[in-house]
């Protein structure tokens, strides 16, 4: 079977990035910026395999058919050496068969559903070209449960609620998180899922308050806007933490007009956290370049993914995917958030990055207001990385 991604006959290294609405949506924009920075860093360093690196960017429009069309243009017409990006899980699921057909390495940068890794577990040979240098959402609940345990000590959190958008990636929050929390000595008093287009949180919050929860763990990617606004306006008597993708965006404080103040979210990194020796430097450089701090896995992981691939290729001396895949699977690379190593083929989630003290970690930050009125993402947990104390909402 002749793959197409391994052709080396052009004199440039080409990277194809599939981004969602770059220039408009924060996720796609972040991916594009990170990829640009990576490519310019590589070129400053003399390119890869002594060739210039070129970045191609395509908009997936969030649609799987568009993404597939653009992907094929990359691998069939442009003969790119590696692809990166993708944010919407639906798009990624659909793209997996194209990636398998065209056997070109893909360094993911945004989607978080465990299903993608499960596809590798089911049929490694077919899907092994996909790598996810930030793991999937099932691994984040440990970090969140640690935060809750910490808050139990510090702030007397005893009873927590769980509230998740109806998505595949939030399954672990609904199913596995309660056990972790109970193990840590907290009581889960409420656990519900809701459709992602929900806009009215009042009845939900009424119920959570009715259960006397001290905090709610939320897993949401779409509905943070109304949730934050109603939480604040209605002066709810509980804290919010969890995985709230929209407030991880460094630009969100402005977009939300500060409505996300006091909210806590889990994140792969924020620019204030010293996850590795590179984190802050990278974030500052990024900020100098684009006037915004890096956003979530979209920025950090896209950058790391490309750099890691380049390092492996440089070592191997070829971009041939059949050689790059095993090399990447074994590689160890220190990126902007720590050491990246991938789970092996027999793991439950092959090619997702490993988590742990020596590998990637997750942090919990809180949006706090600075004296100048600007918002800042302050790390409050884990303690060794904390940059600030937890602040209680002013209306408590």
């Amino acid at each position: 079977i002749g793959g197409m991604g391994d052709s080396d006959d052009d004199d440039e290294i080409k990277i194809g990035l599939l981004a969602y609405d770059p220039g408009s949506a924060p996720q796609g924009t972040a991916q594009q910026q990170a990829a640009e920075l990576a490519v310019s860093d590589l070129n400053d360093d003399g390119g890869v395999l002594d060739e210039d690196v070129e970045l191609l960017v395509a908009d997936t429009q969030g649609s799987s058919s568009t993404a597939s069309d653009r992907y094929l243009e990359f691998v069939v017409e442009e003969n790119v050496d590696v692809t990166a990006g993708v944010f919407v899980t639906e798009v990624m699921t659909a793209l997996m068969s194209d990636i398998a057909d065209h056997q070109t390495v893909h360094m993911s940068g945004g989607h978080t559903s465990p299903t993608i890794a499960e596809m590798l577990a089911d049929d490694y040979e077919q899907y092994k070209y996909q790598f996810r240098p930030y793991g999937n959402a099932t691994r984040w609940i440990e970090s969140i449960s640690d935060l809750a345990a910490h808050m139990q000590e510090e702030e007397d959190w005893d009873q927590v609620a769980i509230l998740c958008e109806e998505f595949e990636w939030t399954q672990s929050f609904t199913n596995a998180l309660p056990d972790l929390l109970e193990d840590a000595g907290l009581e889960v008093v409420y656990n519900e899922r809701y459709p992602a287009d929900t806009e009215n949180f009042t009845p939900l919050f009424d119920n959570i308050e009715g259960e006397d929860a001290d905090a709610v763990v939320m897993a949401q990617a779409h509905s943070a806007g109304p949730a934050m606004i109603q939480w604040r306006d209605e002066e709810r008597e509980f804290s919010i933490c969890g995985q709230i993708s929209q407030i991880v965006d460094p630009g969100s404080y402005e977009a939300f007009d500060g409505d996300n103040q006091y909210a806590i979210s889990n994140a792969p990194a924020v620019h204030t956290a010293d996850l590795s020796e590179h984190t802050t430097a990278f974030a500052e450089r990024y900020n100098d370049e684009f006037d915004v701090y890096p956003n979530d896995a979209f920025s950090y992981a896209t950058y790391d993914g490309i750099m890691m691939w380049a390092e492996v290729v440089e070592e191997l001396g070829t971009t041939d995917s059949e050689e790059v895949v095993p090399a990447l699977a074994d590689a160890s690379y220190v990126g902007t958030r720590g050491r990246i190593e991938f789970n092996d083929e027999d793991h439950e989630y092959p090619h997702d990055a490993k988590f742990g003290e020596d590998y990637l970690r997750r942090i919990n930050f809180q949006w706090q207001e600075e004296d100048d009125g600007e918002g800042l993402q302050q790390v409050i947990h884990p303690e060794d990385l904390a940059t600030s104390e937890y602040q209680e909402p002013e209306w408590f």
Binding site: D21, S24, P26, T198, P203, D206, N207, G225, D233, D257
Partner: protein
Amino acid sequence: MVDIVGIAANTIILGSLYALIAVGFTLVFGVAGQANLAHGATITIGAFTAWFVAGWGGGVWIGLLAGTVAGAVFHVLLYQVFVRHIDDPINVLILTLLAWFVIEYSFRAGIGSEPRSVPSLLAGSTSIGSVSLLYNNLLIFVLSWVFIGALFVFVNHTKRGQAIIATSMNEKGAALVGIKTGDITLLTWGVAGLLAGSAGVLYGSFRAASYDMGMTPLVLAFAIVILGGIGSIRGSLVAAYIIGFLEVFTTSAISPRLSGMTALLVVVVVLLVRPTGLYGRELPA
């Protein structure tokens, strides 16, 4: 544990908001007979206008005014430039749908896909027993009743209001009694624009403004008008509260996962039993 007072309070607030969102749509669709799907866009325009104005330091109340006016201007333009030249109601429906998409995607390209918050019109809250009520929500309640009441009187008890209905039923007949049908329909669109624009501001302050915020209110408005029965403002009002109640009740007492679905399924069942909605008139043959 089902909190009856909470459910009642939330139903009243939500029902009022829905009623406010739906009345403008009812006026154009139910009364004047044109399905204006750009109603969704008007809501978005209202909300973002208020957000802009508030952002420039104009304050939300000026924002409310500006959003209301912007809604009316948009409607008047849409009607004068396009809709008045179209005879086929299906084409009106599709054209307004397209207009909505144009607006929606323009906002996405211009402002981005992240939600923006429109400040509350009134800060603070009061509490009745265990339930706390935001002043902003009370305002929504009051405003929606004022608007709907005014509309009800206008349509049923003024000549001009009757002329709107007459025009929708038989344009030639309306001309025969001296009604300037073009002006009347324009008036209808303008008034509906005012209502939708202000609904957009309130909706934005209750939730958030985003480029695709028009979808949910539009589906709701459509469902409300149909459930209430085309042509009946009273029907729309009752339907808005029914849908509000079903949503609140399902969320609080059954499961939030089913909240969107229950209301819609109830609409289906009601229609199968009463094909012209709760208070609907037969469609013209």
